[in-house]
């Protein structure tokens, strides 16, 4: 095998009817990637990724039975939404699994399609090869309808339809 190639593009696949899997390589040792996923001050520096939104609340009690709470806030309107849940399994720095609930807050349409009162089981797995850490996030929504609704939150009106990515979807489906 040649040296591990860094796949610095998030891959999304649908391994079963109820699950979504996201895979991404990160150019850092596993312990650092684990820290970035578990220490609130670090999480807040990358999880607030949406323009115009901040992440004022990030509470983490990373141990089996420990609770967590994340909340985002719109700079413009002050409206917010978030996620909260409980850690079911923690094996630092290898894997963790949470039961996660969506909190629609007062954000209205922005997150309209997200399923409420329908927890997902989120497993994150971290593997390191030659200084590159691969993160695999497996989200199980328990039903196809909830899974599809969650994935559909990525939809925005007036999105330009791209015809050039046929190869990409065929590869993703094969990979899935």
């Amino acid at each position: 095998m040649p040296a591990t190639r860094l796949n610095k593009t998030a891959q999304v696949s649908l391994p079963t009817d109820t699950e979504v899997r996201i895979t991404r390589d990160l150019a850092a040792p596993r312990q650092l990637v684990w820290d970035a996923h578990t220490i609130p001050a670090l999480i807040q520096r990358w999880m607030s990724g949406m323009p115009g939104w901040s992440m004022p609340v990030c509470e983490m009690d990373v141990r089996p039975g420990g609770k967590y709470r994340w909340r985002w806030r719109s700079d413009e309107t002050g409206a917010g939404f978030g996620f909260f849940g409980e850690f079911k399994e923690v094996d630092a720095p290898v894997t963790m699994m949470q039961e996660e609930y969506f909190d629609p807050g007062d954000s209205g349409d922005i997150t309209g399609a997200m399923p409420v009162n329908n927890p997902s089981l989120n497993r994150s797995t971290f593997t390191e090869t030659k200084g590159v850490t691969t993160v695999v996030v497996l989200l199980d929504y328990g039903s196809k309808a909830a899974r599809d609704a969650a994935v559909s939150t990525g939809m925005t009106d007036g999105m330009e339809i791209s015809y050039k990515s046929l190869d990409a979807i065929l590869v993703e489906q094969q990979g899935g």
């Binding site: 999304v12 650092l32 670090l42 994935v151 990525g154 339809i161 791209s162 190869d167 979807i169």
Partner: protein, 118 residues
């Protein structure tokens, strides 16, 4: 059909490796059933069955060209399915790009506060 029903038909059609190979071939240009059968160790009726599934999902159409009836790829359902996943993918990609930057920063200048090791 609703959007989710259309997406279901598309993903069901794409779930089979032979059908993906047929689509990959048709992405290069239209082809007849005989031409599509050639690269596969499969009978023409077997290939025709796969073509029916693809046609029902709206992924291919049969064109009339004299005696030949070549199949052509129909891009819209694939584009819709791709956009559906692609927008979701981009949500994650935006986060991970931010994480890339944070990790560069963490490796360049480790935080002064003692990090808890497990």
């Amino acid at each position: 059909m609703t959007q989710i029903q259309r997406l279901d038909a598309t993903f069901t059609a794409l779930a089979d490796p032979t059908r993906r190979a047929i689509l990959a071939r048709l992405a290069q240009g239209e082809a007849t059933v005989a031409e599509l059968t050639e690269p596969f160790a499969m009978s023409q009726p077997a290939i025709s069955k796969h073509l029916k599934v693809l046609e029902r999902a709206g992924l291919i159409i049969t064109t009339e060209s004299g005696q030949r009836r070549p199949r052509r790829i129909e891009a819209a359902p694939l584009a819709e399915a791709n956009t559906w996943l692609e927008n979701y993918r981009q949500l994650w990609e935006r986060r991970y790009s931010a994480l890339d930057e944070l990790l560069v920063h963490m490796q360049a200048a480790p935080p002064k506060s003692k990090r808890k090791r497990h």
